[in-house]
Symmetry: C2
Subunit: 202 residues, 2 copies
DNA sequence: TGGAATACTAAACACTGTTCATTAAGTTTG
DNA sequence: CAAACTTAATGAACAGTGTTTAGTATTCCA
């Protein structure tokens, strides 16, 4: 029964083609210009065809957002081999800022836009988000256990650090740091991160 | 020459009527359902009329966002009479969280959505944002000067605190804190804020 | 070879923000 | 007072959006 398998494979491949082109379009042209019709033009199918592979636009955006998370996780993983958890945490901070700076559209989709989370049903889980969060959490735990970081509740610490990093980055991405000229933003970001790290250091 | 004055006043009043209804609609029905046509229905004018009082939808959203900032600033000002700057800062943190929790759509418009910032031209300034930021900044300055807060660069401190507060709140609003059940969010938020405050305390 | 399943699409639906020619009302002036 | 000018408001159109559906080819299997 190789035929149904081939069909399934071809179906999967077409889904991935659409996803790949959508992702490229999203990065190249930005969110605003990524409409289902323009995507349809690009892949040379009709707009209705996209609905055979994705339930709606939110689900397509969710799929792109998962791709972005894979890329982000791969980037963060550069820090994984660093034995010292404090140095690792520090490196993760740098990589976080770098990722957001180099892929603002991805960052937006992953952490700011509503669309992908609408695709996710009320109850069910957000695997790619959880994985990243747990990676951070385990590093923080090591930092505390090995006495690099002040003793504090693990969840509070993880939420605090996530919040802080997301805060800096998203204020810049959504243009709410207008009180400082753009050329100062990078310095303010890394300055704040450094400050925050030194406050948490045991 | 009372006629041109009356005309100007009537014009201003109509602008405010539109703005008031738009704001109510935005709060009641949410962003998604606030279209220029549905707003036009509500105020019993045609959609084209709105364009006689606002350049485009972004400018209307910017005006609503300014109203939201006024309300926010009034709320934050509850803390203004508190003499001790550290207590005042603490109170401002509580009020910030409370505002975001009670008016998530306003918060979104003020600090997350792109629309209002698009209405603001590249160069020109964001008065309502600046005012709020400066209020925070002066309180931080007092905290440092009076030895309540660890010695640190004022701008770094202001950006750090803003980032952190915005981070917690916006993660919740945009549903990126799914690793914890909703009933735990408030506790995590105040827990993080407390933790952060205690780290900054001299 | 005929019937069922699949892949795909054109066209329509119900929206959106925005523009513009036209109408109606009010104001000023000869 | 009537004519000319100014302003306010609108209906209709434009160009776009996400989404649904009826219908058409094409492929597969009994």
């Amino acid at each position: 029964m190789g035929i149904t398998e081939r069909k399934e494979r071809e179906r999967q491949e077409k889904r991935e083609l659409i996803l790949r082109e959508a992702t490229q379009m999203f990065l190249q042209e930005g969110y605003e210009k990524t409409s289902l019709r323009s995507l349809a033009d690009r892949i040379e199918y009709s707009a209705a065809t996209i609905y055979l592979y994705f339930k709606d636009k939110n689900e397509l955006f969710f799929a792109i957002h998962e791709q972005a998370f894979d890329y982000f996780f791969a980037k963060l993983s550069i820090a994984a081999p660093i034995a010292n958890p404090w140095d690792r945490l520090q490196k993760m901070g740098d990589l976080y800022i770098e990722f957001a700076h180099q892929n603002p559209e991805f960052y937006d989709l992953m952490f700011i836009m509503s669309q992908p989370m609408v695709a996710l049903a009320e109850d069910c889980d957000w695997d790619c988000g959880f994985r990243t969060f747990n990676f951070l959490k385990s590093t923080i735990q090591e930092c505390i256990e090995q006495g690099y970081m002040k003793k504090m509740d693990l969840d509070i610490a993880a939420v605090s650090i996530t919040s802080f990093m997301h805060g800096v980055v998203s204020l810049v991405i959504r243009k709410r740091l207008k009180m400082y000229p753009p050329e100062q933003h990078r310095a303010l970001m890394s300055g704040s991160v450094e400050q925050m790290m030194s406050l948490m250091r045991a």
